[in-house]
Amino acid sequence: MSGLARRAAAILWKDILSETRARQGFTAMLSFAALVLFMFGFAIGVDNDLLERLAGGLLWVAIIFTGTLSLGRTFQNEELAGGTRLLRLYPGDPRAIYLGKLAGNLVVLAALEIVLFPAAAILYRVDFAAQAGPLLLVAALGTFGFSVIGTFFSALTVHLRARELLLPLLLFPALVPVVLGSVGATDAFLAGDPLGRAGGWLRLLASYDVILFVVCVWIFPVVLEE
């Protein structure tokens, strides 16, 4: 393993260990996600057909809303431990910090989705299992794009007052391609992809992921400068 990967892994290991010990964070996040799913149900009413048709969009909005709360906490534990900047005092490329935090967010969001997909399947009566393979790919690409941008903006806003407000302000517009791509592909696959549009959405998602990942990794050291 290269030094970069080793140090990224060290951060991932440390964060997962902290998170599993503290735990409250994840439990609260799951409860919030469940509440969001319920709220959509209340807002739309007991119309099973409508809920089923909207399921893809509702699910992704729930993921984005809940995930944003979680992403906003990415660097909070560093601030409590003495400051994110202290991570920069270790030798080596500061990009390891970004990659480690990104991996941590992927793990947390994956854990969230493992609960959220079945929950949405039950509440909105959609059969995700029938398209499990393709949907897994959509979830992976969507979650990756979300984490890439979210981790980056979380680092950028961690020192700001009102960061809880600023993070979504910067993050949500940036997430438009992710949301459209994920929802578009999810809906297409759920409908059996009659128009063959799913591939286009996946390509859009994948290219956005790659471009933003490259830009974020490249520019990240600037964010952590003091």
């Binding site: 902290s18 003495g82 003091e226």
Partner: protein, 216 residues
């Protein structure tokens, strides 16, 4: 004798506030420099600049033969900065905190070595207790253990004596003596004149962001 730190006219401003206004400082390798001065005179800012955390607004700063900000990475590999607040994760135990620090420094230390490092600062009993339950003094000791994990050419200590009991202060003195004997340069910023100057080869006093006097 080559210099571990060579600062010429180093200036740093934060907006309208001038933290440092043209500081000259020379720290030869293997010497101890005590940085004295009242609150807000720029001691911590100077240490943060030397540690590569901050970029100077103006002036020339050379650390371990590298010019900042370009040589930052090479400096970080051979220098360490103990901040006044420390750097420890609440949910992790003493051993886990040290293991994280070792991994981030590019080494993998055996559990026994980490326990040994904790025992050396009289923290053996707290090795497997999450830092959450620790006192401030214990966290300071953990910082000392962390600095001892890897060979260093320059050590920056910000208020190392604060919150420590007599035994803890003794441990800091011992560590400083060891570093000095090993040829490591040490810069100590502190209000505690007596402790800070005990091993000092030179004393620098900061007044209003300027180096006022160098003695001894």
């Amino acid at each position: 004798m080559s210099l571990a730190v060579a600062a010429e006219g180093v200036t740093r401003r934060f907006g309208r506030r001038w933290a440092l206004r043209g500081v000259d400082l020379a720290v030869p390798r293997g010497t101890v420099v005590a940085l004295l001065g009242a609150n807000g005179t720029g001691k911590t800012t100077l240490l943060r600049l030397i540690s590569t955390l901050l970029r100077p607004t103006a002036g020339r700063l050379e650390v371990l033969g590298r010019t900042l900000p370009a040589g930052g990475d090479a400096i970080r590999a051979r220098a360490a900065f103990m901040t006044a607040g420390g750097h420890a994760y609440e949910e992790l135990t003493g051993v886990e905190n040290l293991r994280f620090a070792a991994r981030m420094s590019g080494t993998e230390a055996a559990a026994d070595d980490l326990r040994g490092a904790l025992a050396a600062v009289n923290l053996a009993g707290a090795a497997d207790v999450p830092v959450r339950a620790w006192s401030t003094g214990m966290r300071k000791r953990l910082e000392l253990a962390r600095l001892g994990l890897r060979p260093l050419e320059l050590v920056l200590l910000d208020e190392p004596f604060a919150s420590l009991d007599e035994d803890g202060v003794r441990l800091v003195h011992e560590a400083v003596r060891r570093w000095r004997a090993a040829g490591t340069a040490v810069v100590i910023a502190s209000h505690r004149v007596e402790d800070a100057t005990r091993h000092a080869d030179e004393i620098v006093r900061l007044v209003g962001g300027r180096a006022a006097a160098a003695t001894r």
